[in-house]
């Protein structure tokens, strides 16, 4: 068992909620969460559907281990067709919302249609209702969370909501749960708002009572927790410095994209690093970092909780932002910092607060602002389009003004909500958008980390570090060190990371557990909890099946091998400093081998024998 076995289908057009049994056969083939929900989506929608039309569907989904005693089991995902990319979108979030879904007895919520008026879904175990959200439409995630807690008079309810960015049509809006954990990428929040669905509120008191073999499961879970505790990365490194410790690492090795990826090292990296978050500020004697934090069931606790100096210009006379809140994590800090050239830690922290408060992806926001600044510098944008503001790299004032403009969704803030691809096309310079399949890069320059270039180019949801994090091997030596400037062997490395990641993302566990765990550690936990015999080999094959299914989804949506590429800047303009000096990303040396290893044609199409081997219809 372990799966709750129940799906809630919510037809927002008709205002109905119906209960369905989980497809057990599909669960054996796709496990849960990313894999299983993508299977449902792919079976139920026209792949060419407009992502913001009522015909698109949106699925909130847990994995079979979500909410269990396994470490890092607080994950859920949102699966839909993404408006930023026109690809399959699967955004994964932590916090406590996912576990609460399982405690209430649900594997998935499938949303279809569009409500005539703003609503929210209330789930109290088996009691489900669509209730009016007209009073909270037009308000932030934080306000919505507070309002729903007050209305339902239960401090234990968990809320996932969209903010004003999603309502204003920002194409990279997020769904934020527990106030500062987000299903952040590809615009899943924009889809939710397009359905007039403001929030989902869940309270579950059933617990998890359907583990297949409780004794076997607990033994596997305990063994796994010991591995995490004994590992220096998951036991000490991540809790102490969080993901933000990478800022100086990636800068030192010359792969920190800077000022819209024009450079690969940032002179202000130390000022916005994980170490800097620990340092006492000169102004008030307090560090930026308040504490670390963990999601449900996590024994790593890598999350950051921070404060902004009350005297900082961004929060002056704004007491709402004087308290502690979530962030900065590395990817957000990079996008808001080095990519815009800003080295003001408090400005980055405040901007990140607003990304959480009103629900949008800080990676895409930072990348879009960086492109806008470059457009402004070259004269393609002027103050006529930017509401009279000059846009400058390195300006904390530019950053803070831009994020507030985006939240308001007016004037140039509307343009910033397009994402860099559409923004750069609108102003005549599509080459300045640092994206793959319409989604902005995260914080690793593929000129200095070659394998990441291939991982980005072939990612099924556009540029993303969480679809094949070869940084672990190429930079950090996990599980073994490879040369980041070498292309040989990277096709196999990328494929291995992509398949393993798809398996983990289908389980309910956090990808960060894999800094210590391999599938050999995860499979026994799945096997103890779920029907069927689950081995590491089966998990890896499942991951490959999920990857090919996502590929299939995108090709049916109209994408081709021509979309498996990188911006010209990364293929033609060499790195100017650091170990990668003179290097571009040599994607063409890796891509053909990657297609071959995948069992795809030279045009990137899964062959019939590959489809049969993986059981894809």
């Amino acid at each position: 068992m372990s799966w709750a076995g129940k799906i809630l289908r919510v037809n927002l057009t008709q205002g109905t909620c119906t209960v369905e049994a989980l497809n057990r056969q599909w669960a054996q083939e796709y496990l849960g969460q990313r894999g299983l929900a993508t299977k449902y989506l792919s079976e139920e929608i026209d792949h060419r559907v407009d992502p913001l039309s009522p015909e698109n569907k949106m699925i909130m989904t847990t994995g079979p281990l979500t909410g269990t005693m396994a470490s890092t089991s607080g994950r859920y995902s949102v699966v839909t067709k993404g408006p930023l990319t026109n690809c399959v979108a699967c955004s994964n979030s932590g916090g406590f919302f996912g576990a609460e879904m399982d405690f209430a007895g649900w594997d998935m919520f499938i949303f279809e249609g569009k409500s005539p008026k703003p609503v929210y879904l209330s789930v109290m175990n088996d009691i489900v209702e669509l209730l009016s959200a007209e009073e909270i439409w037009g308000t932030s995630v934080w306000h919505t969370d507070e309002w729903l807690h007050a209305k339902h008079q239960d401090p234990m309810v968990r809320v996932a909501a969209v903010g004003r960015a999603a309502e204003a049509g920002c194409l990279y809006a997020a769904i934020v749960n527990d106030q500062h954990r987000a299903a952040g990428r590809s615009g899943v929040g924009t889809v939710m708002a397009s359905k007039n669905l403001k929030a989902v509120l869940v309270r579950g008191t059933k617990g998890i009572d359907n583990v297949k073999d409780p004794a076997k499961f607990m033994n596997a879970v305990n063994a796994g927790k010991k591995v995490l505790a004994d590992n220096a990365v998951t036991g000490q490194g991540l809790p102490t410095y969080g993901t933000q410790v990478l800022m100086n690492v990636i800068n030192e090795i010359g792969a920190l994209p800077t000022r819209n990826m024009r450079e690969v090292q940032f002179e202000g990296a130390q000022s916005v690093s994980g170490e800097a978050m620990h340092e006492k500020r000169a102004s008030d004697g307090k560090p930026n970092l308040t504490s670390n934090a963990g999601c449900f069931g996590c024994t790593i606790a890598c999350g950051r909780i921070s404060t902004v100096d009350k005297g900082h210009f961004s929060v002056e006379n704004k007491p709402d932002y004087w308290g502690s809140s979530g962030g900065l994590e590395y990817e957000a800090a990079w996008a808001l910092g080095p990519d815009t050239g800003v080295d003001d830690l408090d400005a980055l922290t405040y901007t990140n607060f607003l990304c959480n408060e009103d629900g949008f992806d800080p990676i895409t926001f930072g990348g879009t602002l960086a492109a806008a600044i470059e457009l402004f510098n070259m004269g393609a944008l002027t103050t006529e389009q930017t509401d009279g503001r000059e846009l400058n790299f390195g300006s904390a004032e530019t950053l803070v003004w831009a994020v507030e403009a985006l939240v308001k969704g007016e004037g140039f803030g509307k343009d910033l909500g397009l994402g860099s691809k559409r923004l750069c096309e609108k102003y005549g310079h599509p080459e300045l958008s640092m994206t793959v399949k319409g989604q902005e890069f995260p914080a690793y320059d593929p000129r200095g980390i070659q394998g990441m270039g291939l991982a980005y180019a072939t990612s099924n949801r556009g540029a993303c570090h969480l679809r094949g994090y070869t940084v672990a091997s190429e930079v950090l030596g996990i599980p073994e060190k490879t040369d980041p400037l070498e292309t040989e062997g990277k096709a196999g490395l990328v494929k291995a990371f992509q398949d393993a990641t798809a398996a983990v993302d289908s389980s309910g566990l956090c990808l960060f557990s894999t800094f210590a765990w391999s599938l050999e550690d995860i499979a026994p936990q799945v096997d103890g909890a779920c029907e069927g015999d689950w081995t590491a080999e089966r998990m890896l094959e499942l991951g490959e099946r999920v990857w090919n299914m996502e590929r299939d989804f995108n090709m049916r949506a109209g994408l081709t091998a021509a979309d498996d590429t990188l911006p010209k800047r990364l293929l033609k303009e060499a790195a100017k400093t650091g170990p990668a000096l003179g290097c571009v990303n040599d994607l063409d040396k890796m891509l053909p081998e990657y297609y071959e290893l995948r069992g795809w044609t030279s045009d990137g199409v899964p062959t019939e024998s590959t489809r049969q081997r993986l059981g894809l219809s």
Binding site: Q236, Y241, L246
Partner: protein, 84 residues
């Protein structure tokens, strides 16, 4: 003599001498000194230095006791860390 820049990050920062700026200290060493010699000078436990980088390039453990430091080298060290 060779002069190198020595950088320590994350939990290894505690081994920096007082007054070090930006995680960094300039160090003079005799010709032929190795990365392990440099670490020993500041009592950095060899087992804690997981990621060792010379001028931005990873130095495998086998070379840390043999590679002779060159004038102007920048050596940066981290304990086991990760992110994403």
């Amino acid at each position: 003599m060779v002069t190198v820049e020595f950088k320590l990050f994350a939990t290894l920062m505690e081994y920096l001498p007082a007054g070090a700026q930006d995680h960094s200290v300039r160090v003079e060493l005799s010709e032929g000194a190795t990365i392990f010699d440099l670490m020993d000078k500041y009592r950095v436990p060899r087992t804690q230095a997981h990621l060792v980088v010379r001028n931005g390039i990873f130095v495998p453990p086998s070379q840390r006791k043999t590679y002779p430091l060159q004038d102007g080298d920048v050596i940066a060290l981290w304990p086991p860390v990760a992110g994403g």
